[in-house]
Every structure is written in structure tokens, then in C-alpha cells.
Symmetry: C2
Subunit: 152 residues, 2 copies
DNA sequence: CCAAAATAGTTGGTAAGACGAACCATGTCA
DNA sequence: TGACATGGTTCGTCTTACCAACTATTTTGG
């Protein structure tokens, strides 16, 4: 163990626990709609922007070959869409398709519901506080705040 | 969207984002030691207790058949150990083996280190606050507080 | 301005992890 | 005791991810 201060231990623990709980909820909600967690994440990320394949792969922490398959599958289902990039004829930009938007919205809702028991353990003020703290964490650590939607 | 209150949206987002970030760190740390995330989690859970196969499967949210394989692999590497349950000759209890203990400790340390950038975005007081809030969340929602070590 | 190197994405082969069904062995209960 | 339930394992299969090789297009340096 390097010189992490003592108290951090338990914070790490709590973080990990909540992370696992959250992931469980997310994957359940996703697979309810026959979406892999990764697919859902991709869709969520594209909610408010459009990226090139390689960029998306990078955000998701995936190999581009992996992403290829993922996008193809999603495209077949009408969830995502690839449009050729005007500037660079090698590249394509991935966009969320209408059906994907709908689906994402639904999944989002069930996630909200499923997370409610967890969240409702806190009163409104604490929720705000928590949100602030989490956002502050995200803000540092290279996770740009504008990178909405479950960036790696 | 069901009737989740409005503000929850962003809290959910923040939670998801932090969850993904945390998971990324955890799996990186695990796979550095050739551990699957699930294996690591199993070991972490057994840090301070011993469970039967079926119980462990349930905590991990896995099928028992899946767990069988996982434990066999971990046992071959001397990380876990199955000992027959005295009371029930069908059952076995899974324990962490010495090598597993060591490995878990190491992984734990790198997780701490890797999470540091995230955590250090907050001053000490905020860290405490965050920990308290997270633990409060865990406390509700059926995640018993004594279930240390990254329960589902 | 062109050849060489870099970059974007796809394809194909492979491995890991998870699932479900079928299957023993043991326990429980009527 | 016989029937049913429970604990685990085995086996076949699916999904997802990786890597290496390949095509098509930029970009760069001489």
C-alpha cells in the first residue's frame, strides 16, 4: 500500500460499493431493453453530441474494432446512425437515431426509478450536497464536466 | 419517465459518471494482476468473511454455474479455497487463501492510488461528507452496512 | 508533387466470462 | 421411505472484447 492516507480507505470502499450498486441498476435497466450496458452507454454519451468512431471508442475505453461491431448492431436496430464525415472521407460520425433517443429516454427513466431507493435514503438537502460533491470530483480528474452522459 | 422528481436527473447522471469512472479504475487495477473484475470483487467480499458458493453467487449477482468456474480458476491460483461445510455435506464454504489476501491488498492499494486524483479533487472535509453520504445511501436500499467490500 | 508514413474504420479469428439446462449428491419433509 | 428441494458441477452456447491484418484515405517530408 502506497502512502494513501488512512481515512481514504473507507471512502474508497464506499465509492466502490455505490459504484457496483449503480452499475447493477444500469445493466439491469439496459438489458431489460435488450441493450448491452456498453450500447446503452454509447447511446447515452451521444445524447447531446456526435462523435467520430475513434473518439467514441476512446471515450468508452474500447478498441475501435470492438466499437465497429457495437455500432453496426445498434445501427441495424435503428438506434445509432453513421454519417460520413465531410472533412475526412475516411471517417464517419456516429449519431443517435430517433429510435435510440426514445430508447435512451426509457432506460434513463427506469434507471431513475431503480436508483430511487438508493437516492431516497437521503433527504433533499443531502441529495444536493451529494450531487455537488460528485460533480466536483468529476470536474477534476480529467473528466471534463461537459462530457455528460457517463463518460469513462 | 415516471414521476421521478426533476432534480434527480442530474444526480443520477453524476452517480452514473462516477460509477463508470470508478469501475474503470477497479478493472484496470484488477487486470493489472490478471484478475477479472469479478474475481477481484469476490476476493474483496471474502476479505472479512466466508460464504457458501450459493451465497457468494447471490451477492455477486451471478449464476451458480458461473461462480463454479470462477472459484475453480481462483483456487488453481491459490487465491481462494473451498472447504467442505461441516453441517451440510453438499455445500462448501469459500474462503480467501493467503495468496488471495496478499493480492487483494495490492489491488486495493492500486485502487486507492488510481482513485486518488478523483478523490483529491475534494478537501478533507468534503471527503468525509461524501463518505458519510455514500454510506448513508448504502445503509438504506437493502445494502446492509456490514456487507463490506463491494456488495452488489 | 509524390512516395512514405500515419490515421480511420472494417474484417476475421480467438479467448474470456456469463447463462441455462441437465445432472449427481445430499437433505428435508410428509 | 419415497418424493421433492437444495448445493454444486459440467457442458454447450452466446456475447463481447481483443488483436492482427487489411483497405481507403490523409498528411508529411524530400
Amino acid at each position: 500500500m502506497t502512502d494513501t492516507e488512512d481515512g481514504e480507505e473507507d471512502l474508497v470502499d464506499a465509492l466502490a460499493q455505490v459504484a457496483f450498486a449503480t452499475m447493477a441498476v444500469l445493466s439491469a435497466a439496459a438489458s431489460e431493453r435488450e441493450l448491452s450496458l456498453t450500447q446503452f452507454r454509447a447511446i447515452a454519451i451521444l445524447r447531446d453530441r456526435t462523435l467520430r468512431m475513434s473518439e467514441l471508442a476512446q471515450v468508452l475505453g474500447l478498441e475501435k474494432s470492438t466499437l465497429s461491431g457495437l455500432v453496426v448492431r445498434a445501427e441495424k436496430r435503428g438506434l445509432l446512425q453513421r454519417v460520413p464525415d465531410g472533412d475526412d472521407r475516411r471517417a464517419s460520425r456516429v449519431t443517435i437515431a430517433p429510435a435510440g433517443e426514445v430508447l435512451a429516454q426509457q432506460v434513463r427513466a427506469s434507471v431513475g426509478d431503480a436508483l430511487a431507493p438508493l437516492i431516497d435514503g437521503l433527504d433533499a438537502a443531502s441529495q444536493d450536497q451529494l450531487q455537488t460533491l460528485l460533480e466536483r470530483m468529476i470536474g477534476h480528474a480529467g473528466l471534463r464536466p461537459e462530457a455528460r452522459g457517463m463518460t469513462a
